[in-house]
Protein backbone atom coordinates (compact mmCIF):
# COMPACT_ATOMS: atom_id res chain seq x y z
CA UNK A 1 0.00 0.00 0.00
CA UNK A 2 1.29 3.39 -0.86
CA UNK A 3 -0.13 5.19 2.16
CA UNK A 4 -1.71 8.56 1.65
CA UNK A 5 -1.49 8.89 -2.12
CA UNK A 6 -5.00 8.89 -3.59
CA UNK A 7 -5.64 9.69 -7.23
CA UNK A 8 -9.17 10.03 -8.56
CA UNK A 9 -9.50 9.30 -12.29
CA UNK A 10 -13.13 8.21 -12.43
CA UNK A 11 -14.81 11.51 -13.24
CA UNK A 12 -17.29 9.86 -15.60
CA UNK A 13 -18.77 8.15 -12.54
CA UNK A 14 -18.95 11.24 -10.38
CA UNK A 15 -17.25 14.58 -9.95
CA UNK A 16 -16.29 16.64 -6.93
CA UNK A 17 -18.26 19.86 -6.54
CA UNK A 18 -16.20 22.97 -7.32
CA UNK A 19 -15.66 25.05 -4.14
CA UNK A 20 -16.89 28.16 -6.01
CA UNK A 21 -20.13 26.30 -6.72
CA UNK A 22 -20.56 25.39 -3.06
CA UNK A 23 -19.95 29.02 -2.15
CA UNK A 24 -22.70 30.13 -4.55
CA UNK A 25 -25.14 27.57 -3.15
CA UNK A 26 -24.63 28.23 0.55
CA UNK A 27 -26.89 31.29 0.94
CA UNK A 28 -29.76 29.30 -0.56
CA UNK A 29 -29.32 26.55 1.97
CA UNK A 30 -28.92 28.88 4.95
CA UNK A 31 -30.99 32.02 5.17
CA UNK A 32 -32.77 32.58 1.89
CA UNK A 33 -35.59 30.11 2.08
CA UNK A 34 -38.37 31.47 -0.10
CA UNK A 35 -40.37 29.36 -2.50
CA UNK A 36 -39.98 30.73 -6.04
CA UNK A 37 -43.75 30.46 -6.49
CA UNK A 38 -44.54 32.77 -3.54
CA UNK A 39 -45.64 36.36 -4.01
CA UNK A 40 -43.69 37.86 -1.08
CA UNK A 41 -40.17 39.22 -1.32
CA UNK A 42 -38.61 35.98 -0.06
CA UNK A 43 -40.27 34.12 -2.89
CA UNK A 44 -39.34 36.76 -5.43
CA UNK A 45 -35.68 36.63 -4.42
CA UNK A 46 -35.76 32.89 -4.87
CA UNK A 47 -37.45 33.30 -8.26
CA UNK A 48 -34.77 35.75 -9.36
CA UNK A 49 -31.95 33.39 -8.31
CA UNK A 50 -33.67 30.56 -10.14
CA UNK A 51 -34.04 32.54 -13.35
CA UNK A 52 -30.42 33.70 -13.20
CA UNK A 53 -29.33 30.08 -12.87
CA UNK A 54 -31.54 29.17 -15.81
CA UNK A 55 -29.93 31.91 -17.89
CA UNK A 56 -26.43 30.68 -17.07
CA UNK A 57 -27.32 27.14 -18.06
CA UNK A 58 -28.96 28.43 -21.26
CA UNK A 59 -25.91 30.50 -22.16
CA UNK A 60 -23.56 27.56 -21.65
CA UNK A 61 -25.21 25.76 -24.61
CA UNK A 62 -26.12 28.89 -26.57
CA UNK A 63 -29.86 28.30 -26.18
CA UNK A 64 -32.01 31.00 -27.79
CA UNK A 65 -33.83 31.76 -24.55
CA UNK A 66 -33.62 30.74 -20.91
CA UNK A 67 -37.22 29.62 -21.29
CA UNK A 68 -35.95 26.62 -23.28
CA UNK A 69 -34.33 25.19 -20.15
CA UNK A 70 -36.36 22.87 -17.90
CA UNK A 71 -34.64 21.90 -14.67
CA UNK A 72 -34.84 18.23 -13.68
CA UNK A 73 -33.33 15.93 -11.07
CA UNK A 74 -30.50 14.87 -13.37
CA UNK A 75 -29.60 13.36 -16.73
CA UNK A 76 -31.69 10.23 -16.18
CA UNK A 77 -34.83 12.28 -15.70
CA UNK A 78 -33.97 14.56 -18.63
CA UNK A 79 -33.52 11.57 -20.93
CA UNK A 80 -36.77 10.01 -19.73
CA UNK A 81 -38.59 13.31 -20.17
CA UNK A 82 -37.25 13.82 -23.68
CA UNK A 83 -37.95 10.32 -24.95
CA UNK A 84 -41.23 9.44 -23.26
CA UNK A 85 -42.42 13.06 -23.31
CA UNK A 86 -41.92 13.51 -27.05
CA UNK A 87 -43.21 10.02 -27.87
CA UNK A 88 -46.41 10.36 -25.90
CA UNK A 89 -47.21 13.85 -27.13
CA UNK A 90 -46.34 13.27 -30.78
CA UNK A 91 -47.57 9.75 -31.43
CA UNK A 92 -50.20 11.05 -33.83
CA UNK A 93 -47.30 11.99 -36.14
CA UNK A 94 -45.70 8.54 -35.95
CA UNK A 95 -44.61 5.83 -33.58
CA UNK A 96 -41.02 5.22 -34.61
CA UNK A 97 -37.92 6.22 -32.63
CA UNK A 98 -34.29 5.74 -33.59
CA UNK A 99 -31.42 5.54 -31.12
CA UNK A 100 -28.01 3.87 -31.01
CA UNK A 101 -26.74 0.74 -29.36
CA UNK A 102 -24.20 2.63 -27.19
CA UNK A 103 -26.59 5.01 -25.43
CA UNK A 104 -26.80 5.31 -21.66
CA UNK A 105 -29.29 3.03 -19.92
CA UNK A 106 -31.46 6.07 -19.20
CA UNK A 107 -32.02 6.34 -22.97
CA UNK A 108 -32.10 2.64 -23.86
CA UNK A 109 -34.53 1.63 -21.13
CA UNK A 110 -37.16 4.35 -21.78
CA UNK A 111 -36.98 3.29 -25.45
CA UNK A 112 -37.51 -0.35 -24.48
CA UNK A 113 -40.39 0.73 -22.26
CA UNK A 114 -41.98 2.50 -25.24
CA UNK A 115 -41.70 -0.71 -27.25
CA UNK A 116 -44.06 -2.32 -24.76
CA UNK A 117 -46.51 0.52 -25.51
CA UNK A 118 -46.56 -0.16 -29.25
CA UNK A 119 -43.73 2.11 -30.40
CA UNK A 120 -41.16 0.82 -32.83
CA UNK A 121 -37.54 1.50 -31.85
CA UNK A 122 -34.46 1.07 -34.04
CA UNK A 123 -31.11 0.63 -32.28
CA UNK A 124 -28.43 1.76 -34.75
CA UNK A 125 -25.13 -0.11 -34.89
CA UNK A 126 -21.81 1.67 -34.38
CA UNK A 127 -18.41 1.05 -35.92
CA UNK A 128 -15.23 -0.09 -34.14
CA UNK A 129 -14.65 3.44 -32.80
CA UNK A 130 -18.21 3.85 -31.59
CA UNK A 131 -19.40 6.17 -34.38
CA UNK A 132 -23.06 5.76 -35.24
CA UNK A 133 -23.55 4.17 -38.64
CA UNK A 134 -24.89 7.08 -40.71
CA UNK A 135 -25.87 4.88 -43.66
CA UNK A 136 -28.13 2.89 -41.36
CA UNK A 137 -29.54 6.11 -39.94
CA UNK A 138 -30.38 7.35 -43.42
CA UNK A 139 -32.04 4.03 -44.27
CA UNK A 140 -34.05 3.77 -41.08
CA UNK A 141 -35.46 7.30 -41.09
CA UNK A 142 -39.03 7.26 -42.40
CA UNK A 143 -42.06 9.52 -42.27
CA UNK A 144 -43.10 7.54 -39.19
CA UNK A 145 -39.93 8.54 -37.30
CA UNK A 146 -40.72 11.18 -34.68
CA UNK A 147 -37.42 11.33 -32.86
CA UNK A 148 -33.79 10.30 -33.04
CA UNK A 149 -31.83 10.13 -29.78
CA UNK A 150 -28.04 10.02 -30.05
CA UNK A 151 -25.50 10.82 -27.36
CA UNK A 152 -23.09 13.71 -27.87
CA UNK A 153 -20.20 11.64 -26.59
CA UNK A 154 -19.78 8.34 -24.84
CA UNK A 155 -18.42 8.48 -21.30
CA UNK A 156 -16.91 5.03 -21.39
CA UNK A 157 -14.90 5.13 -24.62
CA UNK A 158 -14.91 8.90 -25.17
CA UNK A 159 -16.10 8.90 -28.78
CA UNK A 160 -17.71 12.18 -29.96
CA UNK A 161 -20.49 11.77 -32.54
CA UNK A 162 -20.79 13.93 -35.68
CA UNK A 163 -23.91 15.68 -34.32
CA UNK A 164 -24.08 18.22 -37.17
CA UNK A 165 -24.29 15.55 -39.84
CA UNK A 166 -26.78 13.52 -37.84
CA UNK A 167 -28.93 16.60 -37.27
CA UNK A 168 -29.10 17.39 -40.99
CA UNK A 169 -30.24 13.86 -41.80
CA UNK A 170 -32.82 13.85 -39.03
CA UNK A 171 -34.24 17.23 -39.99
CA UNK A 172 -34.54 16.30 -43.66
CA UNK A 173 -37.10 13.76 -42.45
CA UNK A 174 -38.76 16.26 -40.11
CA UNK A 175 -37.95 14.27 -36.99
CA UNK A 176 -36.63 15.75 -33.74
CA UNK A 177 -33.07 15.20 -32.61
CA UNK A 178 -32.53 14.55 -28.91
CA UNK A 179 -28.92 14.55 -27.75
CA UNK A 180 -27.79 13.17 -24.40
CA UNK A 181 -24.81 15.35 -23.54
CA UNK A 182 -24.31 14.17 -19.94
CA UNK A 183 -20.83 12.87 -20.70
CA UNK A 184 -19.88 15.80 -22.92
CA UNK A 185 -21.23 18.88 -21.16
CA UNK A 186 -18.50 20.92 -19.56
CA UNK A 187 -15.90 19.04 -21.63
CA UNK A 188 -16.49 20.31 -25.15
CA UNK A 189 -18.36 23.38 -26.42
CA UNK A 190 -21.98 22.58 -27.26
CA UNK A 191 -24.09 24.96 -29.34
CA UNK A 192 -27.68 23.80 -29.76
CA UNK A 193 -28.33 26.36 -32.51
CA UNK A 194 -25.25 25.74 -34.54
CA UNK A 195 -25.45 21.99 -34.24
CA UNK A 196 -29.18 21.73 -34.87
CA UNK A 197 -30.14 20.08 -31.59
CA UNK A 198 -33.86 20.04 -30.69
CA UNK A 199 -33.62 18.54 -27.22
CA UNK A 200 -30.46 18.32 -25.11
CA UNK A 201 -29.84 16.52 -21.85
CA UNK A 202 -27.27 18.08 -19.55
CA UNK A 203 -26.33 17.32 -15.99
CA UNK A 204 -24.88 19.39 -13.20
CA UNK A 205 -22.54 16.92 -11.54
CA UNK A 206 -20.84 16.22 -14.87
CA UNK A 207 -19.60 19.81 -14.79
CA UNK A 208 -18.57 20.00 -11.12
CA UNK A 209 -22.00 21.04 -9.93
CA UNK A 210 -24.06 19.32 -7.23
CA UNK A 211 -25.67 15.94 -7.82
CA UNK A 212 -29.45 15.64 -8.10
CA UNK A 213 -29.95 18.39 -10.66
CA UNK A 214 -29.92 18.44 -14.44
CA UNK A 215 -31.76 20.08 -17.29
CA UNK A 216 -33.47 19.41 -20.56
CA UNK A 217 -33.16 21.98 -23.30
CA UNK A 218 -36.31 22.00 -25.41
CA UNK A 219 -36.30 24.04 -28.61
CA UNK A 220 -39.19 26.46 -28.83
CA UNK A 221 -42.28 24.94 -30.41
CA UNK A 222 -41.62 21.32 -29.44
CA UNK A 223 -44.47 19.84 -27.45
CA UNK A 224 -43.96 17.12 -24.90
CA UNK A 225 -45.98 15.41 -22.21
CA UNK A 226 -44.77 15.84 -18.63
CA UNK A 227 -43.57 12.87 -16.58
CA UNK A 228 -44.42 14.48 -13.26
CA UNK A 229 -47.78 16.12 -12.76
CA UNK A 230 -48.48 18.53 -9.93
CA UNK A 231 -48.38 22.25 -9.22
CA UNK A 232 -47.23 23.23 -12.69
CA UNK A 233 -43.65 24.36 -12.02
CA UNK A 234 -41.16 24.47 -14.91
CA UNK A 235 -43.85 25.44 -17.44
CA UNK A 236 -45.96 22.53 -16.33
CA UNK A 237 -43.37 20.09 -17.62
CA UNK A 238 -41.80 19.27 -14.28
CA UNK A 239 -43.95 19.92 -11.26
CA UNK A 240 -42.57 20.05 -7.73
CA UNK A 241 -41.05 22.81 -5.62
CA UNK A 242 -37.76 23.78 -7.20
CA UNK A 243 -34.45 22.49 -5.84
CA UNK A 244 -33.15 26.04 -5.62
CA UNK A 245 -29.67 25.43 -4.11
CA UNK A 246 -29.09 22.70 -6.69
CA UNK A 247 -30.19 24.91 -9.57
CA UNK A 248 -28.09 27.84 -8.38
CA UNK A 249 -25.12 25.48 -8.08
CA UNK A 250 -25.77 24.10 -11.56
CA UNK A 251 -25.91 27.66 -12.93
CA UNK A 252 -22.59 28.54 -11.31
CA UNK A 253 -21.02 25.30 -12.55
CA UNK A 254 -22.21 25.99 -16.09
CA UNK A 255 -20.82 29.52 -15.93
CA UNK A 256 -17.41 28.32 -14.73
CA UNK A 257 -17.32 25.54 -17.32
CA UNK A 258 -18.05 28.00 -20.13
CA UNK A 259 -15.33 30.41 -18.96
CA UNK A 260 -12.63 27.84 -18.36
CA UNK A 261 -13.42 25.19 -20.95
CA UNK A 262 -10.97 26.08 -23.68
CA UNK A 263 -7.94 26.32 -21.36
CA UNK A 264 -8.94 23.31 -19.31
CA UNK A 265 -9.74 21.06 -22.24
CA UNK A 266 -6.36 21.83 -23.83
CA UNK A 267 -4.65 20.92 -20.55
CA UNK A 268 -6.68 17.72 -20.24
CA UNK A 269 -6.03 16.69 -23.84
CA UNK A 270 -2.28 16.82 -23.19
CA UNK A 271 -2.66 14.76 -20.02
CA UNK A 272 -5.02 12.34 -21.78
CA UNK A 273 -2.65 11.75 -24.68
CA UNK A 274 0.30 11.28 -22.35
CA UNK A 275 -1.71 8.84 -20.26
CA UNK A 276 -2.91 6.84 -23.28
CA UNK A 277 0.63 6.60 -24.65
CA UNK A 278 2.00 5.61 -21.26
CA UNK A 279 -0.68 2.96 -20.72
CA UNK A 280 -0.13 1.39 -24.15
CA UNK A 281 3.49 1.81 -25.30
CA UNK A 282 5.35 -0.12 -22.58
CA UNK A 283 2.79 -2.94 -22.41
CA UNK A 284 2.40 -5.53 -25.20
CA UNK A 285 -1.10 -6.75 -26.17
CA UNK A 286 -2.67 -3.45 -25.13
CA UNK A 287 -5.18 -1.47 -27.18
CA UNK A 288 -7.03 1.85 -27.24
CA UNK A 289 -10.82 1.82 -26.91
CA UNK A 290 -12.53 4.52 -28.96
CA UNK A 291 -11.05 6.95 -31.49
CA UNK A 292 -7.52 8.42 -31.16
CA UNK A 293 -8.57 12.06 -31.67
CA UNK A 294 -12.37 12.37 -31.85
CA UNK A 295 -12.70 11.67 -28.15
CA UNK A 296 -13.52 13.58 -24.97
CA UNK A 297 -10.54 15.55 -23.65
CA UNK A 298 -10.64 13.71 -20.34
CA UNK A 299 -11.10 10.12 -21.52
CA UNK A 300 -8.34 7.50 -21.70
CA UNK A 301 -9.87 4.07 -22.33
CA UNK A 302 -7.70 1.03 -22.93
CA UNK A 303 -7.80 -2.72 -22.76
CA UNK A 304 -5.27 -5.38 -21.88
CA UNK A 305 -5.43 -8.95 -23.17
CA UNK A 306 -5.37 -12.01 -20.88
CA UNK A 307 -6.48 -10.22 -17.70
CA UNK A 308 -9.73 -9.06 -16.20
CA UNK A 309 -10.79 -5.51 -15.40
CA UNK A 310 -12.01 -5.83 -11.84
CA UNK A 311 -8.72 -7.28 -10.67
CA UNK A 312 -6.89 -4.44 -12.43
CA UNK A 313 -9.15 -1.96 -10.61
CA UNK A 314 -8.43 -3.63 -7.26
CA UNK A 315 -4.69 -3.52 -7.90
CA UNK A 316 -4.94 0.15 -8.89
CA UNK A 317 -7.05 0.88 -5.82
CA UNK A 318 -4.42 -0.71 -3.57
CA UNK A 319 -2.01 1.83 -5.02
CA UNK A 320 -4.47 4.65 -4.44
CA UNK A 321 -5.79 5.06 -8.00
CA UNK A 322 -9.53 5.08 -8.84
CA UNK A 323 -10.62 4.15 -12.38
CA UNK A 324 -13.45 2.07 -13.85
CA UNK A 325 -13.94 -0.97 -16.06
CA UNK A 326 -16.55 -2.33 -18.46
CA UNK A 327 -15.86 -5.85 -17.27
CA UNK A 328 -18.83 -8.04 -16.46
CA UNK A 329 -17.36 -8.59 -13.01
CA UNK A 330 -17.91 -4.94 -12.13
CA UNK A 331 -21.51 -4.86 -13.40
CA UNK A 332 -24.70 -5.67 -11.56
CA UNK A 333 -25.87 -7.61 -14.60
CA UNK A 334 -22.70 -9.75 -14.90
CA UNK A 335 -22.63 -8.81 -18.57
CA UNK A 336 -19.74 -6.84 -20.06
CA UNK A 337 -20.57 -3.27 -21.01
CA UNK A 338 -23.03 -3.00 -23.90
CA UNK A 339 -20.86 -0.22 -25.31
CA UNK A 340 -17.80 -2.45 -25.59
CA UNK A 341 -19.88 -5.24 -27.12
CA UNK A 342 -21.40 -2.78 -29.62
CA UNK A 343 -17.97 -1.63 -30.87
CA UNK A 344 -17.30 -5.27 -31.70
CA UNK A 345 -15.19 -6.43 -28.78
CA UNK A 346 -15.47 -10.08 -27.83
CA UNK A 347 -16.52 -10.82 -24.25
CA UNK A 348 -12.97 -11.70 -23.27
CA UNK A 349 -11.65 -8.46 -24.79
CA UNK A 350 -14.27 -6.38 -23.02
CA UNK A 351 -13.33 -7.98 -19.69
CA UNK A 352 -9.86 -6.44 -19.80
CA UNK A 353 -11.12 -2.89 -20.42
CA UNK A 354 -10.27 0.09 -18.30
CA UNK A 355 -11.45 3.73 -18.39
CA UNK A 356 -9.58 6.61 -16.82
CA UNK A 357 -11.55 9.86 -16.83
CA UNK A 358 -9.55 12.91 -15.81
CA UNK A 359 -10.67 16.07 -14.08
CA UNK A 360 -9.68 19.54 -12.96
CA UNK A 361 -7.61 18.47 -9.99
CA UNK A 362 -5.57 15.82 -11.80
CA UNK A 363 -1.95 16.79 -12.39
CA UNK A 364 0.77 15.63 -14.75
CA UNK A 365 2.54 14.13 -11.74
CA UNK A 366 -0.51 11.93 -11.11
CA UNK A 367 -0.59 10.81 -14.74
CA UNK A 368 3.12 9.94 -14.47
CA UNK A 369 2.43 7.91 -11.34
CA UNK A 370 -0.32 5.87 -13.04
CA UNK A 371 1.92 5.28 -16.05
CA UNK A 372 4.69 4.13 -13.71
CA UNK A 373 2.61 1.59 -11.77
CA UNK A 374 0.61 0.09 -14.65
CA UNK A 375 3.21 -2.26 -16.20
CA UNK A 376 3.75 -4.11 -12.89
CA UNK A 377 0.02 -4.46 -12.30
CA UNK A 378 -0.50 -5.97 -15.74
CA UNK A 379 2.54 -8.21 -15.29
CA UNK A 380 1.38 -9.53 -11.91
CA UNK A 381 -2.08 -10.42 -13.22
CA UNK A 382 -0.74 -11.88 -16.45
CA UNK A 383 1.61 -14.11 -14.46
CA UNK A 384 -1.47 -15.44 -12.70
CA UNK A 385 -3.55 -15.88 -15.85
CA UNK A 386 -3.75 -19.22 -17.67
CA UNK A 387 -4.51 -17.29 -20.89
CA UNK A 388 -1.15 -15.49 -21.03
CA UNK A 389 1.08 -16.95 -23.76
CA UNK A 390 4.24 -18.43 -22.21
CA UNK A 391 6.62 -16.40 -24.38
CA UNK A 392 5.14 -13.16 -23.02
CA UNK A 393 6.35 -13.86 -19.50
CA UNK A 394 9.91 -14.81 -20.42
Amino acid sequence: MSGAKRIYMDHAAGMPVDPRVIEAMLPYMKSLCGNPSSVHSFGQEARQALEEARTKVAESINAESNQSIIFTSGATESNNMAIKGVAHRNQNRGRHIITSSIEHMSVLNPCKFLMTKGFKVTFLPVDQYGFVDLTSLEEELTSETIMVSIMYANGEIGTIQPINEISQMVHRKNAYLHVDAAAANGQVPIDVNDEGIDLLTISSNDMYGPKGVGALYIKKGIQLAPLIHGGGQERGLRSGTENLPGMVGFGKAAEIAKEEMSTESERLKKLRDKLIKGLLDPIPHSFLNGHPTKRLPNNAAVRYSFIEGESILLDLDMKGVAASSGSACTAKTLEPSHVLRAIGLKHEEAHGSLSFTLGRQNTEEEVDYVIRIMPDIVKRLREMSPLTPKELME
Binding site: E308, S327, C329, H347, P386
Partner: protein, 125 residues
Protein backbone atom coordinates in the same frame (compact mmCIF):
# COMPACT_ATOMS: atom_id res chain seq x y z
CA UNK B 1 -17.28 -5.01 -1.18
CA UNK B 2 -14.75 -7.77 -0.38
CA UNK B 3 -13.73 -9.04 3.07
CA UNK B 4 -10.24 -8.26 4.32
CA UNK B 5 -9.41 -11.96 3.95
CA UNK B 6 -10.40 -11.95 0.26
CA UNK B 7 -8.25 -8.88 -0.30
CA UNK B 8 -5.36 -10.45 1.55
CA UNK B 9 -5.46 -13.53 -0.69
CA UNK B 10 -5.87 -11.32 -3.76
CA UNK B 11 -2.80 -9.30 -2.76
CA UNK B 12 -0.70 -12.32 -1.80
CA UNK B 13 -2.06 -15.37 -3.57
CA UNK B 14 -0.72 -18.66 -2.20
CA UNK B 15 0.55 -21.44 -4.47
CA UNK B 16 0.27 -19.47 -7.69
CA UNK B 17 1.85 -21.02 -10.76
CA UNK B 18 2.02 -24.30 -12.65
CA UNK B 19 3.36 -27.76 -11.89
CA UNK B 20 5.11 -28.91 -15.08
CA UNK B 21 4.87 -32.63 -14.22
CA UNK B 22 1.48 -32.47 -12.51
CA UNK B 23 -0.37 -35.72 -11.73
CA UNK B 24 -3.74 -34.08 -12.30
CA UNK B 25 -4.91 -30.87 -14.02
CA UNK B 26 -8.39 -29.37 -13.79
CA UNK B 27 -9.67 -26.36 -15.74
CA UNK B 28 -13.08 -24.78 -15.23
CA UNK B 29 -14.84 -21.65 -16.49
CA UNK B 30 -13.95 -19.85 -19.69
CA UNK B 31 -12.67 -16.43 -20.68
CA UNK B 32 -16.02 -15.50 -22.24
CA UNK B 33 -17.64 -15.58 -18.79
CA UNK B 34 -14.75 -13.62 -17.33
CA UNK B 35 -13.46 -16.32 -15.02
CA UNK B 36 -11.24 -19.26 -15.84
CA UNK B 37 -8.98 -21.24 -13.57
CA UNK B 38 -6.62 -24.19 -13.78
CA UNK B 39 -5.57 -26.24 -10.75
CA UNK B 40 -2.47 -28.50 -10.88
CA UNK B 41 -1.92 -31.26 -8.30
CA UNK B 42 0.94 -33.54 -7.39
CA UNK B 43 -0.20 -36.66 -5.51
CA UNK B 44 1.94 -38.74 -3.13
CA UNK B 45 0.61 -41.64 -1.00
CA UNK B 46 -2.96 -40.66 -1.82
CA UNK B 47 -2.34 -37.15 -0.49
CA UNK B 48 -2.14 -33.79 -2.28
CA UNK B 49 1.56 -33.21 -1.94
CA UNK B 50 1.71 -30.04 -4.01
CA UNK B 51 -0.94 -27.84 -5.57
CA UNK B 52 -0.78 -24.74 -7.77
CA UNK B 53 -3.25 -22.57 -9.64
CA UNK B 54 -3.52 -20.12 -12.50
CA UNK B 55 -6.55 -17.85 -12.74
CA UNK B 56 -8.01 -15.30 -15.13
CA UNK B 57 -10.74 -13.34 -13.44
CA UNK B 58 -11.90 -10.91 -10.84
CA UNK B 59 -10.72 -10.47 -7.26
CA UNK B 60 -13.05 -13.20 -6.00
CA UNK B 61 -11.84 -15.66 -8.64
CA UNK B 62 -8.21 -15.11 -7.66
CA UNK B 63 -8.85 -15.21 -3.90
CA UNK B 64 -10.94 -18.41 -4.06
CA UNK B 65 -8.24 -20.09 -6.16
CA UNK B 66 -5.62 -19.20 -3.62
CA UNK B 67 -7.84 -20.34 -0.73
CA UNK B 68 -8.70 -23.70 -2.27
CA UNK B 69 -5.02 -24.54 -2.67
CA UNK B 70 -4.48 -23.77 1.02
CA UNK B 71 -7.45 -25.90 2.06
CA UNK B 72 -6.43 -28.86 -0.13
CA UNK B 73 -2.68 -29.00 0.46
CA UNK B 74 -1.71 -32.07 2.51
CA UNK B 75 -5.23 -33.51 2.47
CA UNK B 76 -6.05 -37.05 1.30
CA UNK B 77 -7.88 -37.20 -2.01
CA UNK B 78 -11.06 -38.23 -0.20
CA UNK B 79 -10.81 -35.22 2.12
CA UNK B 80 -10.04 -32.88 -0.77
CA UNK B 81 -13.08 -34.11 -2.71
CA UNK B 82 -15.25 -32.94 0.17
CA UNK B 83 -14.03 -29.34 -0.02
CA UNK B 84 -17.06 -27.45 -1.30
CA UNK B 85 -17.66 -24.05 -2.83
CA UNK B 86 -19.18 -22.87 0.42
CA UNK B 87 -16.15 -24.11 2.41
CA UNK B 88 -14.00 -21.89 0.21
CA UNK B 89 -16.31 -18.89 0.57
CA UNK B 90 -16.64 -19.40 4.35
CA UNK B 91 -12.86 -19.64 4.80
CA UNK B 92 -12.59 -16.26 3.06
CA UNK B 93 -15.06 -14.68 5.44
CA UNK B 94 -17.80 -14.75 2.79
CA UNK B 95 -18.13 -13.43 -0.75
CA UNK B 96 -20.47 -10.82 -2.21
CA UNK B 97 -23.69 -12.53 -3.25
CA UNK B 98 -23.27 -11.75 -6.93
CA UNK B 99 -19.85 -13.48 -6.91
CA UNK B 100 -21.01 -16.70 -5.26
CA UNK B 101 -22.13 -18.27 -8.48
CA UNK B 102 -19.83 -16.90 -11.16
CA UNK B 103 -16.47 -16.53 -9.49
CA UNK B 104 -16.52 -19.26 -6.86
CA UNK B 105 -15.25 -21.99 -9.19
CA UNK B 106 -12.09 -22.96 -7.36
CA UNK B 107 -13.53 -26.07 -5.62
CA UNK B 108 -14.79 -27.28 -9.01
CA UNK B 109 -11.29 -26.86 -10.48
CA UNK B 110 -9.81 -28.85 -7.58
CA UNK B 111 -12.33 -31.65 -8.06
CA UNK B 112 -11.62 -31.67 -11.81
CA UNK B 113 -7.90 -32.00 -11.11
CA UNK B 114 -8.50 -34.97 -8.78
CA UNK B 115 -10.78 -36.59 -11.34
CA UNK B 116 -8.12 -36.11 -13.98
CA UNK B 117 -5.54 -37.73 -11.70
CA UNK B 118 -7.79 -40.72 -10.99
CA UNK B 119 -8.57 -41.20 -14.66
CA UNK B 120 -4.90 -41.27 -15.60
CA UNK B 121 -3.58 -43.09 -12.53
CA UNK B 122 -1.19 -45.84 -13.55
CA UNK B 123 -1.02 -44.63 -17.12
CA UNK B 124 1.82 -42.51 -18.35
CA UNK B 125 0.70 -38.95 -19.09
Amino acid sequence: MYSEKVMEHFRNPRNMGEIPDADGIGTVGNPVCGDMMTVYIKVKDNRIDDIRFKTFGCGAAIATSSMVTELAKGKTLEEAKKISRSDVADSLGGLPKVKMHCSNLAADALHAAIEDYEKHKGTKR
